[in-house]
């Protein structure tokens, strides 16, 4: 984690160096002044955290294989869902996602999981598009249905 933070700090420092990081006597700091200082501060902190970790190392890994597996089982389909949203809109991928998740993790039959996810998606449509009139992203399927 300390290494990740240090990397992030490095990117920030590099980014702020492209700006004017100076200090003009009349107007004080320029645009890049604070981001650069904050980035350096973060880099220092990451080193300190690393040192602290060396001094009292906490035994054991931070996830077990089984835990990682169940987390990834949720996380990876979610990544696919997010990746599909720009092309297919919000509704269709969400519906497929719910069908898959309820089927795969709940151990229910196909019919039931399709039914449950359809009900949920219809509820979403009612709440967002009709009730609060927030237009969610639509894809080709919605335009085909004329929604």
């Amino acid at each position: 984690m300390a290494a990740v933070i240090a990397l992030f700090a490095g990117v920030i420092i590099a980014g702020s160096l492209q700006l004017d990081t100076g200090w003009v006597p009349e107007t004080g700091p320029q645009a890049g002044y604070l981001p650069l200082r904050l980035g350096i501060g973060l880099a220092v902190i990451s080193v300190l955290i690393f040192l602290q970790m060396l001094r009292n190392p906490e035994g054991g890994g931070f996830v077990t294989g089984g835990q990682l597996k169940s987390t990834l089982a949720i996380f990876l389909p979610t990544v696919v869902l997010v990746a599909a949203m720009p092309w297919l809109g919000c509704y269709v991928p969400s519906w497929l996602y719910l069908c898959y998740m309820i089927k795969a993790h709940g151990g229910t039959g196909i019919g039931k999981s399709v039914l449950v996810s359809s009900l949920i998606i219809i509820a979403f449509y009612l709440v967002f598009d009709l009730w609060f009139q927030v237009d969610l992203a639509k894809g080709p399927v919605e335009s085909f249905l004329g929604l």
Partner: protein, 503 residues
């Protein structure tokens, strides 16, 4: 002192049928997000926020704040029934609440929790009523340097109260501050840290961050722990509630002390979570039957609940009067205020008295509504959790992602929410605090503006931060708090000293 005619007209605003209906809806939604794991007050309010853009501000804030109160109640319910805190701030309630429920004293535990919470919330509102105006008047004298001092004090008090992880808190604050710097510079209009992309011009939305960090991140952790609701039946009968109410004076000392701690932690940005742990620890240390704690001692429910709610309510005081939120949820609400075109801070009391006092009056009513609703509907909400997690979990994720999209109808926020979800997961696993990051993201721009404006005033000299008694006091206090967090902890940890809350 407060002019009560303002409060009176506030009640006239809040006590309309429309607003009462909004309160009931808000509280019910709040209990729902409070009960569901992975959804809590901060991201419940965030998800609802885009839907309020078309409402008028007073109805919108009543909806959001009612949701906040409902979520605080809902969180403690799951702590007691399922030993799963629905909110981070109700973790301390599990220590004694769940054992009580296991002994078959479910109703007693729930009604004790709700009544102490109601008391804490009430004291919090009274406090807000009495001193919000005074604080705002005082803050009218503040210049940019003083505001910078207050912001600094806010962050330093997080570091000072971080309970053995000051470095991680500092890292969290710095990351938040850096993230707000992304996008257009508010002073010069230059693009900062966008790395040549156009999508980052508008900056990183803190709402997406809240959804990711609190929603998706938390859910990933929950999944990993292998969630199973082996809950106890929730029933409610009014005989037990009445008996608990009559028994409350026995806990008067604990109740008052915890409420005081809660109010203090709410006004200073310690937040409800720290408040509930702290008052639980103190209640145990000073209790006569110390050995009963952790085995179902009612005082162990009273303490965290009263502190949690009084902190939650009084967190709105600095938000309204200074423009500094006292908790993550208050931070999101403050962002909402700014989106509705209101500027939180001392001027709000002068420019928008209807809004401020309508909100304060609604806090009295909404908390009464919340206690009544939570006592009568808890069996219903508890039964929602009987639905398998394989349905609830994915639905929560979809709600979070769609919520991220509704912030400003762009896909970038959805990607960001997912990315923050991963960060939130790592933060949770490695014990980094999340709330300071959110606070830094909300306050970052204002803090930088205050800093740069003071530098303009002083023509680039730091002496402005020590130019008068007020600002010097703020600066010295900040430095002291930061030192208190950073320096002695190293020594104490080496000695293996006691932490605030012993498991």
């Amino acid at each position: 002192m407060t002019d009560f005619s303002f409060l009176w007209s506030g009640f006239e605003t809040a006590l309309t049928l429309h607003h009462i209906a909004i309160m009931i809806g808000g509280v019910l939604l709040g209990i729902l997000v409070g009960v569901l794991p992975g959804l809590g007050a901060p991201n419940g309010v965030t998800l609802l926020l885009p839907l309020t853009f078309t409402m008028d501000p007073i109805s919108a804030i009543i909806l959001l704040s009612s949701m906040y109160w409902g979520a605080l109640f809902g969180g403690s319910t799951t702590s007691i029934l399922f030993n799963i805190p629905g909110e981070p701030s109700s973790v301390a309630t599990t220590f004694d609440g769940h054992p009580m429920a296991k002994q078959g004293r479910t109703e007693e535990a729930l009604s004790t929790a709700f009544l102490s919470a109601g008391f804490g919330a009430f004291v919090g509102v009274v406090l807000v009523t009495l001193i919000a105006n005074v604080v705002a008047d005082f803050a009218l004298q503040f210049g940019p340097a003083e505001f910078f001092g207050v912001f600094l004090l806010t962050f330093c008090s997080y570091v000072g109260m971080s309970g053995g992880r000051p470095l991680k808190t500092v890292a969290s604050v710095l990351i938040g501050l850096i993230l707000t710097a992304i996008g257009m510079d508010t002073v010069s209009g230059e693009m900062r840290l966008t790395y040549g992309t156009t999508s980052l011009v508008n900056g990183v939305s803190y709402l997406a961050a809240v959804i990711g960090l609190f929603g998706i991140g938390e859910l990933l952790v929950t999944v990993e722990e292998g969630l199973e609701f082996k809950g106890l039946k929730a029933r409610m009968n009014f005989g037990v509630i009445w008996r608990t109410l009559k028994g409350m004076p026995r806990h008067a000392v604990v109740l008052l002390r915890s409420t005081a701690i809660g109010c203090w932690m709410g006004i200073t940005p310690g937040g409800p979570t720290a408040a509930s742990f702290m008052s639980y620890g103190i209640a145990r240390r000073f209790s006569r039957n110390k050995e009963n704690f952790g085995k179902g001692e009612p005082a162990g429910v009273v303490a965290p609940e009263a502190a949690d709610h009084s902190a939650g309510v009084s967190a709105l005081l600095p938000m309204l009067s200074l423009g500094i939120p006292g908790s993550a949820t208050a931070a999101v609400m403050m962002g909402g205020l700014m989106i509705w075109g209101l500027q939180p801070g001392p001027m709000l009391f002068i420019e928008q008295p209807d809004f401020v006092w309508g909100l304060i009056a609604s806090m009295y009513i909404a908390n009464i509504v919340a206690v009544v609703l939570v006592l009568s509907t808890i069996p219903l909400f508890a039964s929602i959790l009987k639905a398998p997690f394989s349905i609830i979990g994915p639905v929560i994720i979809v709600v979070c992602l769609i919520g991220a999209y509704t912030i400003s109808n762009r896909m970038l926020d959805v990607y960001l929410a997912l990315g923050f979800g991963v960060i939130g997961y790592l933060f949770k696993k490695l014990d980094y605090p999340i709330a300071p990051l959110i606070l830094a993201m909300v306050l970052g721009d204002k803090m930088e503006d205050a800093f740069r404006q003071s530098m303009l005033l002083s023509q680039g000299s730091f002496s402005i931060f020590f130019s008068n008694g007020l600002v010097s006091t703020l600066m010295v206090l900040s430095i002291l708090l930061a030192c208190w967090g950073l320096i002695p902890r190293f020594g104490r940890r080496r000695a293996g000293g006691p932490s605030l809350v012993e498991e």
